[in-house]
Amino acid sequence: MEIVSRISRGSKMDQIYIPKNRHGFNIGSYVIIKPLEENVIAEKPYFYNVNHIEPIKLETINEIIKVIDKNCNYDNVIFTGSFVDNGFKFNDIDILLISQNKLDVEHVKDAIENKTGIKIHIIQLTNQDLMKGLSTDPLYQMMLSKCISKKRFIYNVKNEINYKVLDLHLLKSKAMNDNFGILNGSEKYYLTRNLISLFLYADGKKVSKETVDAEIKKIFNISVEKIKDNMVGNSFLRKYKEIYNKAFSKIVKSVKNDPKQE
């Protein structure tokens, strides 16, 4: 038998009144008092360019949010990367934890991994870092072009060309030129995607996963799946080098006019 009752304030001790007319709870018997849990209404996360998500993934997201809620104070949590794509071809879950305070990310990561059994990759950012990243870094734009967020976030930032940041990212894609024969399909796709996102960004275009994949198809005349399956030959590499050089020229165009270099 269960009885729901309220705690009343007393002069020396507080008390809980229960009706005299009841079954069980005899005088002198010991009982446990515990708070009646309030029904927590599950907040629905916000979807950005995610048209469909498998129910089990949504459950996982809610579980992760609960773990993060328990372990730290934060402003927002954003899920991104291959986890929010259709299907289950993801290696880990990429999480952006937005907070103004320094958080023990490793502890949160371990807590989530213990709860879900899935590898987690957490990046902690402040709101300012996020906005700065979005305005200067095409990889941020691409990452957040498709994501699920606990709270609504609005970003409307202008592309800001910081050639040193872009050059830094472009250097990563240089690996294709040197190691074309060694790289596997996924690595080739990653480097191509990086290159094309920079190429578009340097042109002042907004970058998203969809626009980058469409541009890859247009430029190389080959589907993304074929690159991932490593079905690419020397003609692909020739085109890649051509685009790399064009992207480099576009990025370093503003170097000579940068007074901060002095």
């Binding site: 830094l168 250097l171 240089k174 190691n179 480099f248 940068d258 270099q261």
Partner: protein, 114 residues
Amino acid sequence: MTQNRNRLINLMVGNISNSIVHKILEMAINNEEISNRYNKELTTSLEIAKSYRERINPVNPPFPSKDIMYLKKRIRNKVRAELRMRISRGYKNINLDLIEEMIKNYLKDMKIIN
């Protein structure tokens, strides 16, 4: 060199060169935020290079002198080409004199030379 050893050496050379390029570019920057990003990238490349090094014989230094010459030459050429390309486009404060010393330090750090 066997084919697999060649492949691992190429991957290691690519990552060492990338790390040195980032290190020299980082030294030419006076913006802490960007400098940190270059630092992160150079550390990542170095860690990857180390992981390849662990799979290349001989495990203990030194490598055969023929290999050392080859490695130094390839790293030097790659780093110089990358940095010269940037200098010609207007990058300033890039010090090419640092390359030799850095190659030596990296190869020591990776137990390739004594």
